[in-house]
Amino acid sequence: MNRGRLSATLLALLCVSIVRADPNSAARVRTFASLPDWTGIWQSAAWPTDVSGRVPGGEEKLRSGLQLIRHPPYNAEWEANFQAGMQNTAALAARSATFKVCSRGFPAIMEAPWLFQIVVLPEETVLIFENQQVRHVYTDGRRHPPKKDLWPTRLGDSIGHWEGDTLIVDTIARTSEPIAPRAWLSVLSDGAHVTERLRMVNRNEIEDQLTIEDPVALAQPWRMALEFKRVAEMNRMYPFDCKENERNPVIDGKMTIATP
């Protein structure tokens, strides 16, 4: 094949590939244009951490802003179990003195200290956390998988839909791990069902009205409002990694510092 024929062939292939490129449909473009702009970097308002990695004001200040560590509205049976666990102060003290948190389940991930981005697409809304966890909320009209095809995962299975500028999220099939770090005794049943209503209050604040329903464990629905603040001083995400330079070993039940 001479150079002229080769060039013509390559040009033809290029044209074919351009023609075959699958552009966004007009319907998808219209849907995209109708969705709110939640770009930026966000963080739970409960975690105004400083350069030491702590919340100024200490544990008391932190706990006053956390919603998920509050006492769940348990029914009598689950409340009795909760109170029995509270009696074991030695176990609680050991756990409180040595815990490390590198990832979280749902809904704890929504009240984590980690920065996150929200990617709003016509088909799904994706929450990308700096600790490298990703939450998918499918908004393409699909339903949850049938029960026989569903198993518990840490973030559960989330589907959603838009009501104006509010994203309604429905999550089931979460694992029954403690509901949040620092709430070691707060657990829910496998049947817990969480509904969220996320909306941008203003350019710098998104709220998440979260309702937990669990007829097995709770006497009544547990409602709370989480708040996310825009992190304006960051212009990109930096991944958080627990293992890169871990220097806090637990030795004989106590956390310490290892020299490099």
């Binding site: 975690w47 951490t49 400083d50 350069v51 030491s52 990695g53 702590r54 919340v55 004001g57 200490g58 544990e59 008391e60 200040k61 932190l62 706990r63 109170q83 509270m86 009696q87 102060t89 609680l92 003290a93 409180s96 003195a97 040595t98 815990f99 490390k100 948190v101 590198c102 200290p113 920065l115 700096e130 620092r182 992190v231 001083e233 960051m234 995400m237 930096y238 991944p239 958080f240 990694d241 627990c242 890169e244 330079n245 871990e246 220097r247 806090n248 106590k254 956390m255 310490t256 510092i257 020299t259 490099p260």
Partner: protein
């Protein structure tokens, strides 16, 4: 033990944790502050924590202290960057020291050789 006493004792241990994001802060004594004046041996810009290794001079030679800070993104937000400190820099650091006597602690604040605070937030 009564329910009230249980709650009080659990609350008491929780309030020693210092509100740290990544792990328990029980190993740090937040009632104590120690001031270290010395030379930066290394500045580790790493996850899950950044660290300042400080050589503090003494009669029997320098002692190395490990100063724990937050993650890189937390430092960025406080005005710190990977090049904020270099080996050989003179520094004065205030820490909450370790309860177990290990030569280390949690970062509280720092000033450079010029006497000015390092970073915009401490």
């Amino acid at each position: 033990m009564s329910r009230c006493r249980v709650l009080i004792s659990v609350a008491a241990l929780l309030f020693t944790l210092q509100g740290l994001a990544h792990h328990s802060g029980a190993m740090f004594d937040d009632k104590m502050s120690t001031t270290l004046t010395g030379t930066v041996k290394a500045f580790q810009w790493t996850n899950p924590h950044c660290w300042i290794q400080v050589l503090v001079p003494g009669q029997e030679g320098p002692t190395e202290w490990s100063v724990e800070m937050g993650s890189p993104s937390q430092l960025f937000r406080g005005g710190w960057k990977p090049g904020t400190l270099e080996a050989g820099d003179k520094i004065t650091v205030v820490i909450h020291p370790m309860r177990d006597g290990t030569k280390g602690g949690l970062f509280v604040s720092a000033v450079g050789a010029d006497g000015k605070p390092i970073g915009t937030s401490t």
